[in-house]
């Protein structure tokens, strides 16, 4: 059997697996009856529906002809990696990682770290420009979030501010 639409094949597969997992997970809660629904009733119902929809999409992807096979296409690993890494770095720098004993470095360090890493996702990268951008964003964020909106953030590293 040949896959006639890769996009549909993999999305169908995804929906089936996720639906089945939710349905399976729901069975560990009380299901109950229609008149007295337990916490597992609605998720089980939805999980089964999702799995069936996924199966239908899978079936379609194997049967219905498409002109070009609808390939998923190349993954843009570079932007994917740097955007997500920058985001995670923000969390690590801002809040620290107590599990490995990394102290919180605060908002300003997090802004610089994130902006630099995220900028690498683009096609052109200039270190100098990125530093200037980080500085501007730091001032803006400090003004908007700390001074104006008074959000509770650790601004400076814990070993400085105590």
């Amino acid at each position: 059997m040949k896959i006639k639409s890769s996009k549909d094949f993999f999305s169908g597969l995804m929906f089936t697996v996720v639906g089945a997992s939710f349905a399976y997970g729901a069975t560990s809660y009380t299901i109950g009856t229609g008149a007295r629904m337990g916490p597992g009733y609605f998720p089980l119902l939805l999980g089964v529906i999702l799995a069936l929809l996924g199966a239908a999409i899978l079936f379609k992807s194997l049967v219905v002809e498409t002109p070009d096979g609808e390939p998923v296409g190349k993954w843009a690993w570079k932007p994917l990696f740097f955007i997500i890494a920058g985001n995670l770095l923000f969390g690590v720098l801002l809040g620290g990682l107590p599990s490995i004993g990394l102290p919180a470095m605060g908002l300003i360090a997090a802004i610089f770290g994130t902006t630099i890493v995220v900028s690498m996702a683009g096609n052109e990268f200039s270190f100098k420009e990125t530093i200037v951008l980080s500085a501007i964003l730091s001032v803006m964020s400090y003004g908007a979030f700390i001074m104006l909106l008074k959000l509770q953030f650790p601004v400076w590293p814990t070993f400085i501010s105590g």
């Binding site: 996009k7 999305s11 995804m14 996720v18 639906g19 939710f22 997970g25 729901a26 809660y29 009380t30 009856t33 229609g34 008149a35 007295r36 629904m37 337990g38 916490p39 597992g40 609605f42 998720p43 939805l46 999980g47 529906i49 999702l50 929809l53 996924g54 999409i57 609808e70 998923v72 296409g73 993954w75 843009a76 932007p79 955007i83 997500i84 920058g86 985001n87 995670l88 923000f90 969390g91 809040g95 997090a110 802004i111 994130t114 902006t115 995220v118 900028s119 996702a121 683009g122 096609n123 052109e124 990268f125 951008l133 964003l137 964020s141 979030f145 909106l149 008074k150 959000l151 509770q152």
Partner: protein, 503 residues
């Protein structure tokens, strides 16, 4: 007349200094993100939601609403001057708007878009005010069975009228409903699908999903495409005012666009995007007048109609949200979230329990439209300058503000890990050609649907036929079924696909 009393109350609320300022900030931000391609109202509203915690609810809602309809104004500027839709609802404006700019008529094109939007915005607001009271009265007759059927209708409507594969869209709704169930079940106290992670017992934050999928997912998709050279018409905008002939051509197009937009905005799944498409298609079907430029070569009607329609649609899509508590599109789903943050349960009771909020919001929309026309026409030069800001400065800022926004919702780094995960998933969905908007609708409606299903079946002692034996509920389900059947008819199916591949 009650309507006038109500509107008077609304203007009284909207005219306070604080609320005027927030309406202005909302409109300004809306225009800003409308002008900038690559960031839409969904991501922006999600980013700003945490920042509105500290505001009074009315100010928060006024500002967030301003972002949505403000984006409809800003989107046209980019469409006309750069040949790129600044906002998805301006996709069709690009066709004739850019051609007008190339012929040196960027000014009249911008004016047509701005004036059309203003007119449509005013009418849309009036319709919203007029429809609110009668619809709310209907909504009070709804029991749990009717609400459940209404949500089914809303969700079906959302996928039927949206673009892309129907089957995948329905699957995304169901997935959204499931994700909405994560967390503690209100009836039994059982923490569902939380994997013993304490942060997950409160459920997944919808801000986290919206930012991950719409913010990060879209940035990654944008960066994956080779950067095309933007040709910006800088400083060439002279003579803003359209000629007399332009006005003659524009007027019927604006009227038609406003009508179509207002109707499509009320429908579930409707809103700005669909309205713009429909208005352009209809405009193309009408006969050309003597001496008029054909469509696709810079016809002013091709700018005026879709721009009026998307603004009218943006305005009237507040109707189902404010009267029934059912969000018709992804932006309105975020508005539900904003209301819940401020302990306002969206639905018919908002109007009676919070009349200041309800009418104040409506009045602020009219004032907002007035601010927008000033922001967008006399001050157009400012926005043109903005278009020269390169994307490589914008996307790090967007990622950063998303991360800050996500963290500040709970002051917890767990949400940052989660938004990263949703970013990856969002990119995966983009690669697989799955539309993420229905997911957000399902996510918001998930807990509400379960609750109403539970109550309806409890009252009927487990008898599922309650949904078809009660007249109102049966007719809602029938409409949903008819919509599905109509879309699946082969002739309509091909037309529907055609309508969304307009070029």
């Amino acid at each position: 007349m009650d309507l006038f009393n109500n509107l008077a109350l609304g203007f009284g609320v909207a005219f306070t200094f604080q609320n005027l300022i927030y309406a202005f900030i909302g409109c300004l931000l809306g225009t800003l993100i409308g002008v900038l391609p690559g960031i839409g109202p969904v991501a922006t509203i999600a980013m700003l939601l945490p920042a509105t915690y500290a505001l009074p609810p009315i100010a928060a809602l006024i500002m967030l609403a301003g972002i949505y309809y403000g984006a409809q104004y800003g989107g046209s500027t980019t469409a006309i001057l750069v040949n790129l839709p600044g906002e998805s609802s301006s996709v069709v404006t690009v066709i004739d708007g850019y051609q007008m700019a190339r012929k040196g008529r960027a000014g009249p094109a911008l004016a047509a878009a701005g004036l059309g939007s203003f007119f449509a915005g005013c009418i849309g607001t009036l319709i919203l005010a007029a429809f609110a009271v009668p619809l709310t009265e209907v909504a009070f007759k709804f029991g749990p069975a009717e609400y459940f059927s209404l949500m089914i209708l809303g969700l079906i409507g959302a996928v039927v009228l949206a673009s892309g594969s129907l089957l995948k869209a329905v699957a995304m709704i169901v997935l959204g409903l499931l994700l909405g169930l994560v967390g503690t079940d209100v009836n039994s106290g059982v923490a569902r699908f939380s994997f013993d992670i304490p942060e997950l017992t409160d459920g997944i934050g919808f801000i986290t999903i919206a930012m991950g999928v719409f913010g990060y997912g879209e940035i990654i998709t944008n960066l994956a495409q080779p950067e095309d050279k933007r040709e910006v018409f800088l400083g060439k905008v002279t003579g803003l005012f359209p000629t007399k002939q332009d006005f003659k051509n524009m007027l019927p197009a604006v009227l038609r666009g406003t009508t179509i937009g207002s109707i499509l905005g009320i429908l579930p799944g409707g809103g700005a995007l669909l309205a713009a498409f429909a208005a352009y298609t209809i405009e193309k079907k009408t006969k050309l007048r003597e001496g008029e430029v054909p469509f696709g070569q810079g016809n002013i009607r091709g700018v005026a109609a879709p721009e009026s329609a998307n603004n009218a649609g943006a305005q009237t899509s507040f109707i189902p949200l404010l009267t029934l508590g059912i969000p018709p599109n992804a932006v309105m789903a975020l508005m539900v979230g904003a209301m819940t943050i401020h302990n306002i349960q969206p639905g018919p009771q908002v109007m009676t329990s919070n009349p200041e909020l309800f009418w104040g919001l409506i009045a602020s929309m009219w004032l907002g439209n007035l601010m927008l026309i000033i922001l967008n026409l006399p001050l157009i030069g400012m926005w043109i300058k903005l278009l020269t800001v390169p994307y490589r400065w914008l996307f790090p800022a967007i990622v950063l503000f998303c991360a800050i926004g996500v963290y500040s919702t709970n002051n917890n780094t767990f949400d940052i890990w989660l938004v990263g995960a949703f970013g990856v998933v969002g990119y995966l969905w983009a690669k697989l050609g799955v539309e993420p908007a229905p997911l957000l609708l399902g996510f918001i409606l998930g807990p509400m649907m379960e609750e109403n299903l539970r109550r309806a079946l409890l009252l009927s002692r487990g008898d599922w036929s309650v949904f078809v034996t009660r007249g109102l509920s049966a007719s809602l389900l029938a409409v949903a079924a008819i919509m599905l059947i109509v879309v699946l008819l082969p002739s309509v199916k091909s037309k529907r696909e055609e309508a969304f591949v307009e070029d």
